[in-house]
């Protein structure tokens, strides 16, 4: 995909996020929007996957360790063709296969059930290890939050992945700088994240998580790297794409009302029009 196609897709993924959370009247838009470009790149460009065969044993795997950003994953999966985009409005409703947090037994394309923070990276390490044991060539990706890495289990998983040289694993850290109680450095600073991961034997790449050239380049470097796992620390804007949500911790886990929803869709449609108009 060209950057323009990726940008358009990401804008549609963002529309799906806002629509789903608005319909559910609860959920987590902030961190879904900050990672929307990453979700888009992973599922439309990077990962070897087939929406028609979501359980293909040879597929690449993705674990959403920051499981509360399920609307981001669901919108991406829907836009990629795993299930109808219209079903996003069933999010969090009784009887829906779109649970509040990712559930692998309910939703096509979800590789691991997550939601309780700190547990997903371990599962991703297990999947990557299985590939090594079986001699398979698939790669494993995990997305964590910058607040989530306050959980101790994350560092157990990082220590293991670094020590055992799990080089088919790429961990992406969404550094949007905010968590429920405020700025991550005010709550309990995890910084410097890059230095810590280097010390854990990771190949660390720092990028702007809204720049597709940088995202593309980071994954190319991750694939080339042997003998150590890769961590992509991406600087992002929480709530990216919806003006009133951007950089507001309050939009971590809150749904827009009808008026706010209209405003968000209007803004995203304007962004789509602008991308369409732009020179290739």
């Amino acid at each position: 995909m060209t950057n323009k196609e990726l940008q358009l897709t990401a804008a549609n993924v963002r529309k799906g996020i806002v629509t789903a959370v608005h319909s559910a009247k609860s959920g987590h838009p902030g961190g879904s929007l900050s990672a929307a470009d990453m979700f888009t790149y992973l599922y439309f460009e990077e990962m070897n996957i087939d929406p028609k065969n979501p359980k293909d044993p040879g597929r690449d795997r993705f674990v959403l360790s920051k499981g509360h950003t399920a609307p981001g994953l669901y919108s991406t999966l829907a836009n990629r063709g795993y299930f109808p985009v219209e079903d996003l409005t069933t999010l969090r409703k009784l009887g829906s296969y779109l649970q509040g947090h990712p559930c692998m037994t309910e939703t096509p394309g979800v590789d691991m059930s997550t939601g309780s923070l700190g547990q997903g990276v371990s599962a991703a390490v297990g999947m990557a290890l299985a590939a090594k044991l079986n001699g398979d060539s698939y790669r494993v990706y995990a997305l964590t939050g910058d607040g989530e890495i306050q959980e101790g289990q994350i560092w157990e998983a990082f220590m293991f992945a670094g020590a055992k040289k799990i080089d088919n694993l790429t961990v992406i850290i969404d550094n949007n700088g905010l968590q429920i109680d405020g700025k991550i450095e005010d709550v309990c600073s995890p910084y410097p994240i890059d230095k810590k991961l280097e010390a854990f034997n990771f190949n660390v790449i720092c990028i702007d998580g809204h720049d597709f050239d940088q995202i593309r380049d980071a994954f190319a470097k991750a694939k080339e790297c042997k003998g150590m796992p890769t961590a992509i620390i991406m600087k992002t804007t929480k709530g990216k794409g919806v003006s009133y949500m951007e950089n507001q911790a309050g939009w971590h886990g809150k749904a827009p009302n009808d008026e706010e929803y209209e405003q968000a869709i209007k803004e995203l449609d304007e962004q789509i029009a602008k991308i369409n108009e732009a020179e290739v």
Partner: protein, 312 residues
């Protein structure tokens, strides 16, 4: 009579894993720096490439097992019950139980027979914790024969298993041609008409000893081995409750939430009858030799006999 053979069920676990490893190339074993104690070191020696030592990080080990199981492997994770079920409860619930993954938890050093290490390492709550997780099969083998059979059955059955093994050597009681292990099917070791003693784990042999003493007093007690706590064998529990109208349960676990509670859950709904739960009564363990502790906590044959005599 020949000398009674005694083997710790953790030893049986390690031996069974080696046998299983030969049969099934998908079996992998994960440890958290306790391979020597959990006896999985025997597997490690036989299949070094299929043994993963995670270091002292049980939560991560649990998550790794969850991930590896989604890729067709059958992971057995090993640690002491205190950590495998206690420290790890939420990881087991959310990363293994909720997605109903094919992970087998081999928890050794359960109960007071841990001995000298004392209360911090003597898990008396694991049966209670594990049986609350939807879809979790919970097995507490009573001896070497049963422990091996449980490991084989776990590998052949899809879904999460929690298996509780002990540190101390226990008599082999199921070494007979009629013995058949079936998940969820209790084993009647001695028929009786006056009362039934439901037991599990190390307490099965002790319950048999207590029944012998009761017989000398003219009390005919049935002894039934409830090796599977979940799914529990309702039919056999009801059959013996109806036949005897007096129920005792014996376990090396807290009386809160363990096998005795599981039996009570069945009886309270379907056949209310007097039940006396024998176990550890809302307290922590102590340091000391395993045998001395069983005596101190009145879980040996003599203690069980005394408890029963005092309440009939």
């Amino acid at each position: 009579m020949g000398e009674v053979i005694k083997i710790a069920t953790r030893e049986s676990y390690g031996n069974a894993l080696v046998e299983l490893g030969q049969k099934n190339p998908n079996v992998v074993v994960l440890d958290a720096d306790l391979a020597g104690a959990t006896k999985t070191s025997t597997f490690k020696k036989a299949f070094p490439d299929r043994h993963i030592d995670c270091g002292i990080a049980e939560a991560n080990m649990t998550g790794i097992a969850a991930g590896i199981s989604t890729c067709g492997k059958i992971p057995f994770i090993s640690s002491f019950a205190m950590f495998a079920a206690g420290r790890n409860f939420e990881q087991v619930r959310n990363s293994i139980g909720y997605p109903h993954l094919n992970v087998k938890i081999g928890a050794t050093h359960a109960g007071i027979t841990v001995g000298e290490d004392g209360a911090s390492h003597q898990c008396l709550e694991d049966i209670a914790l594990m049986r609350t997780i939807p879809g979790m099969t919970v097995i507490v083998p009573s001896d070497d024969v049963e422990a091996k059979a449980a490991v084989m059955a776990a590998a052949e059955t899809d879904g999460p298993f929690y298996m509780r093994f002990g540190r101390a050597a226990v008599p082999v009681i199921n070494d007979n041609p009629d013995y058949k292990f079936e998940v969820g099917k209790a084993v009647v070791l001695k028929d009786g008409t006056d009362m039934v003693i439901f037991a599990c784990g190390v307490c099965v042999a002790e319950a048999l000893g207590a029944a012998e003493k009761l017989a000398a007093d003219g009390i005919n007690a049935a002894v039934v081995n409830i090796h599977t706590i979940k799914p529990i064998d309702k039919d056999t529990i009801l059959e013996f409750a109806k036949k005897t109208n007096r129920v005792f349960t014996v376990e090396e676990h807290s009386v809160i939430g363990g096998m005795g509670s599981a039996v009570c859950d069945v009886l309270a709904e379907e056949y209310p009858v007097k039940v006396t739960k024998i176990g550890v009564y809302d307290r922590f363990g102590k340091s000391g030799p395993a045998g001395a502790l069983m005596k101190e906590f009145q879980l040996d044959a003599e203690g069980i006999y005394n408890k029963i005599k005092a309440s009939v």
